[in-house]
Symmetry: C2
Subunit: 248 residues, 2 copies
Amino acid sequence: MTTRISLIGIGVGNPEHLTLEAVRVINEASLILIPRKSVEKGDLADLRRQICADVLKNPATRLVEFDLPVREAAAPDYGAGVEAWHDDIAARWRQVLQAELPEGGEAALLVWGDPSLFDSTLRIAARLDVTVRVVPGITAIQGLTAAHAMVLNEIGQPFLVTTGRQLRAQGWPEGVDTLVVMLDAGCAFEVLDPEGVTIWWGAYLGMERQMIRAGTLADTGAEIRKIRAAARAEYGWIMDVYILRRQG
Amino acid sequence: MTTRISLIGIGVGNPEHLTLEAVRVINEASLILIPRKSVEKGDLADLRRQICADVLKNPATRLVEFDLPVREAAAPDYGAGVEAWHDDIAARWRQVLQAELPEGGEAALLVWGDPSLFDSTLRIAARLDVTVRVVPGITAIQGLTAAHAMVLNEIGQPFLVTTGRQLRAQGWPEGVDTLVVMLDAGCAFEVLDPEGVTIWWGAYLGMERQMIRAGTLADTGAEIRKIRAAARAEYGWIMDVYILRRQG
């Protein structure tokens, strides 16, 4: 009656980001969970379906789709709101697993990017009575650096990976000249003094509609704001990430 | 007469870390460069050979092996020493490309981990008159977090990726509670006050001999020092990475 869930990083947008390990583990699963996050991000569920259609050769593997609960964005306490949302998602998973794998077995879940990086899947899995295996995947950070053919760090120097929320609240942190900004719902870089700062930005990384821009924050920041608004209006959602570097 | 070099991230130690894109690009190359870094790390050249043996189906693709120049570790200025070493490596590449692809064409180089992360391949390629394409790969960081089935960041919180040298010189940096430490030739964590710090450590990630440990820095730090010394003595080299987290 043991269930194992394999959390499989699938990279960002490009079905060819899948690793050989991911392909193998997908084909070893009895059940693949396909959560539908929200209508706007329908593209992402489509990507998961496409990946399964492309690489799944095991006729015994079943796919099951289900809607995820939505986070209460208005919750007064951000941390508590996230915890409650993860509880709700875990309850949903539990329900699906009990219905579809009542005897236990091998389940798998395709995770955008990599399960270790600003992703809640591992925290949700920890709420269930299951064993967990992680298959690493290409992150949005590597999608961005590959698109720009750039090195993330300066030689021997550190970099900080942070969020739009943190950048907006605290400005440029002390002691580090390279920042990676993820989960930025707006353009948090606008709170910074752009003098001497370079930005490397990318949206829809790995997808056909991938957009990248790089340049001084002063010039390119303004351009990104426009591109971002237009793209969000056109596609209904946007997922982007960027690197900022200031002269040390 | 144009040459393109594809820098292909191959992940860390596990041939199954290879992405489908990496497999495709390997098979599109006319020439694959296999640099031999040093005798101690012979395992890594072996891994590259194994990967090519496993996935290369194009009979027209040629492999060429060559020895890399060695960095003068005793150079008084670290930065200048690295620059001179990269110049030497670029000269070696140029020589090999001129000999093997005199008419230009598609070359590829298999890069440990991902070309964006503490890797010099992109800086070396920039010294040549070639176009460069990057194929992202699984990094040691994702190898580590997958092995521990852990999330790297705390919810909404930043993390800093740094080096053993930086940690040793500067101690725990301000404003961040999670550190990823790479390129640590010793056990730089020993400079820290271990109180309230947890470590997640891994060596030879993705390989059959993979070792991981996690626990309080006070207890596990001492154990890691012993394991590390024994493993280095046994295999002649060690490559490890770790995450440190302190109570916020």
